[in-house]
Amino acid sequence: MAVPAIAAQTSSQRLLASTRRFSRWLTSTRVVLSLAMLAVMFVMVVIPLYKLVEITVTWQAHDLTRVPTAVEGEFTTFHWVRMLTGIIGKIYTYTPLQHSMTIAVGSTLLALVIGGSLAWLVVRTDMPGRKLVNQLAVLPYIMPSWTLAQAWLVFFKNRTTGGTPGVFEFLVGQAPPSWLSYGPVPIIICSALHYYTFFFLFVSAALISIDSNLEEAGDLMGASRWRILRKITMPLVLPAILSGVIMTFSKVMGTFGGPNILGLPIRYYTLATMIRGSLAAGEGGDAFVLAIVLILLAITTIYINQRLVGTRRSYETIGGRGFVAQASKLGKYKRAFQIAVIIFQILVIAVPIGLLLWNTLMLIDGNYSLSNFTLQHWIGAANTHYNSGEPGVLLNPKIWQTAWNSIKLSLFTAFFTALLGIILGYAIVKGRGTRLSKLVEQLAYIPYVIPGIAFGAVYIAMFARKLGPIPPLYGTFALLVIVSVSKHLPYSSRSGVSAMMQVGHELEEAGMVAGANVWQRFSRIIFPLTKSGFMSGFLMTFITTMRELSLIILLVTPATQLLASQTMFYTENGDAQMANVVILILIAIVVAGNFIIGRFSRGGSLRKGLGM
């Protein structure tokens, strides 16, 4: 039967219809959330970026001493010219850049080798004790990245920087060579030992998901093990490796802690340490130019990754439940491998902690005799001769306050990050394919490319003054929370998206059909189902925030001091042992937190938190 055509509309009717459609769109949940997120990210991400660029192209107060005719606030190419050309450019930009690259490349490669090999051993061989290795592999990531560097210093310190001899010298009688104590070699080693966890997790997940049929086919055709590895396995694992490479490379490029501890004594500057140094010297223009250089580098790395991995994403073998049919037999070397690996892992964790602990039990740094044994730094009363007159750490109310600050910050950040994650996930997934959704997703990704130290620098500039309705936040706890949450945006969006996708759109649609409104759908369907993802994200964020240094080093004030920055503060004041006590406490809190939250999360875990 023919259905009559619909009557044509007058233009005013059309206008009314369009208005109705528009207002429905505007008030739909995902659009409201998307717009809200856009606004939030605009303030937290876009404006800082803009500010960063702005400062590098305007005259700053400090520049007037060099160029008296400059007018503060006016446009200038001075900073860029200065930092990119001539001998100044070489000293302040290119040399640190080269150092940063060296360290990033070295660390990434070394971490890849270590992590990849471990992954292979755990997933693909019959080495005994694999489960234990699996669990231990995650621990180095929990400790702050500069813990190893600090321990290294305690051990390998030599006279180049004067001061007291390190443990090595004490044990061996001779000072270690400088290239071993300071500079790129130890920085690379320490970074690699911290980040190998990434590669371990990524590569083992990839290896597990490979459908063994693919390799068996090669085997049946008579290919050698080696050939199979090269031609079949490697290409399939490549995307995972590349993801690990990108993450590690970017992080190491912007890391502050290690290079600060091991590079500064021999003037081995990296971009991150030069940024802080420039800021300390009042050279804001210099510092932000370097920050932008760092950002551009990060973008380039990601771009390269996209080009290499982008087309290969489809290599996820469909239906590859992966059973690891072929476990390589290690034969008589089984035990040897197991022992070697477990010793290695324990070393990487226990030795640094042990060294730090030993150091904290010495009254005067460098005096290794028994008479020097003391608990002063832990529970000693205030004594003007030691530690600038501060009491031992456990008795020090300042430290308790600082520890509480750190815990508070981590909890708040973890909570908001996870919450934002759900919101972002909903907004992005619900609007999959629309421009709005893409925009939100892209914006959320930006903090990934801004190194922590640059973020911190910009936030000082930005939030010093009132920003619209936002009061000036410098020196407040709120600022630290905002900065931490912003830095975690890409992570929270990614985990939120994956959590939402796991929930599946049909479950929410069933709720819609049943007549539930937005709140009901969120509270009764979405939140309960994303709980485990929420907890994993919470855990992950808690850990990373507790030990974050680069991000907050420029923003903390005595009122909002955090454990991580407190250690830097002590070190720079010459109270190295106090610093080490605080580090140990930090590690203890993080490990405890990991344990406690792991108990509560029922299904949440660090692995899940990392998105695998």
Binding site: I266, I446, E572
Partner: protein, 424 residues
């Protein structure tokens, strides 16, 4: 990815465009010389136009600070006003500030003691002034170059010196109250060198034999160390004389005095010293470590010399490390780093601030920092036992000039950075 790149480009372009528009940073209009109140004659002359005061100047005037400080201090009124204000917030860069809490509370139990040991005071106060949200009442900090170079032109700090305090070194150009001078010196290992410091002249420090044995903080990242090298540059004439004394010839004959491969010129003997010092690659150490480093613990290893605070001597008294200052160095035995006291512009508790400054300049206020190597700025405060008399100290050390430092520190830093790369 494409969208991402587009977005970034947009942001960059946007910033460029906006900054071309050039909205200058917030800076109040500074009138030339803050006007001293003019007493108008009572005759009916055409009234002289009073100079228009900026908002900050008006505030200073209302609160009797800076050039508007009245000829006598009405302490009763000030105290009453301070009690009404109820709190004092001091930003001090020394942890010893906590020792002033008790004396304060004894004197003014009704006025709450807040804030205290603070990092990056200049950053914090700059932020507060630009935001218009002032929390800290008192600047109790060194960084004189920032104080005079940036804060004063912006009218972010106002001076206050109690009228009954005699502070001879104050000038119209540098009117801010001085809390103390801490002298930095070259230290040596007195245990090994039992006959005193082997060094008698600053130029000996540039001897290649001492490479790797000189310890200082990193001037590249520590402004106050850089300011000290700037001070050396400031005293070019004296350095020239010292050069002649040691080597018997003119400093211009030194090969390093020539323009180097990077086109750097050497304006005077002081700059020459900075250059040669850089070429000697002093070891970069943290402040307290210098005391240990310059003496070392193992007598077999020849210790060097460290540039550090004179008062570090007491800090290292534990154990058997002995560091002593080289007191016969030509042309100077050291430099005085100055700590200043100033009232923040638009401070919430200006009268409490005045009371604090009064306390800080009294013997009780100086006591936490009293040590050999530190000097108060007023002759009325007694010195430590065995300390060099004030006048002698002034004649033998260089007082750092914050304005010179402000204008030259950046240049000296670049000069230093480049010199590090030049061969000897």
């Amino acid at each position: 990815m494409k969208t991402f790149v587009k977005l970034m480009t947009l942001i960059v372009l946007f910033s460029l465009v906006v900054s071309c528009g050039g909205t200058p940073a917030v800076a109040p209009v500074a009138t030339q010389a803050p006007a001293v109140p003019v007493l108008l004659p009572t005759t009916t002359l055409a009234p002289v136009a009073e100079p228009v005061l900026s908002a900050n100047e008006q505030w200073a005037k209302d609160n009797g600070l800076g050039p508007y400080q009245p000829a006598t201090d009405d302490w009763a009124a000030i105290e009453a006003a301070a009690k009404r204000e109820g709190t004092i917030c001091v930003y001090a860069n020394s942890s010893k500030i906590t020792k002033l809490q008790k004396p304060w509370e004894a004197l003014y139990p009704d006025i709450k003691w807040d804030c205290g040991d603070t990092d990056s005071i200049d950053v914090k106060m700059r932020a507060e002034q630009e935001a218009g949200n002032v929390v800290g009442d008192v600047w109790f900090n060194s960084d004189g170059h920032i104080l005079y170079g940036e804060f004063v032109p912006n009218q972010w700090l106002w001076s206050f010196v109690p009228r009954d305090v005699v502070m001879p070194e104050l000038t119209a150009e540098q009117p801010f109250a001085v809390a103390r001078h801490a002298i930095d010196v070259w230290g040596y290992n007195a245990e090994i060198n039992k006959n005193g410091c082997p060094l008698k002249n600053w130029w000996q420090l540039t001897d290649p034999a001492l490479e790797g044995k000189l310890y200082t903080e990193d001037p590249m990242t520590d402004v106050s160390t850089m300011a000290k090298w700037a001070t050396v540059a400031e005293h070019g004439d004296e350095m020239a004389t010292a050069y002649k004394t040691l080597y018997g010839k003119d400093w211009t004959t030194d090969p390093a005095a020539q323009k180097d491969a990077f086109g750097q010129e050497v304006p005077n003997a002081g700059w020459l010293w900075v250059k040669k010092m850089a070429q000697n690659h002093p070891v970069v150490v943290d402040e307290i470590d210098i005391a240990y480093a310059s003496v070392g613990m193992d007598p077999k290893v020849e210790p060097g010399y460290g540039w550090t605070g004179w008062n570090s001597v007491e800090d290292t008294a534990a154990g058997d490390i002995v560091m002593a200052p080289c007191l016969e160095m030509a042309p100077t035995i050291g430099m005085a780093k100055t700590s200043y006291l100033a009232v923040a512009n638009k401070a919430p508790h200006p009268n409490a601030a005045k009371l604090f400054i009064k306390l800080a300049l009294s013997p009780d206020g100086y006591a936490p920092w009293a040590a050999i190597g530190t000097y108060p700025a007023t002759a009325s405060i007694p010195l430590e036992e065995g300390e060099m008399p004030f006048d002698e100290m002034l004649s033998k050390t260089w007082l750092m000039n914050p304005i010179y430092d402000w204008e030259n520190a950046a240049k000296v830093r670049d000069f230093w950075a480049i010199s590090l790369l030049t061969p000897k």
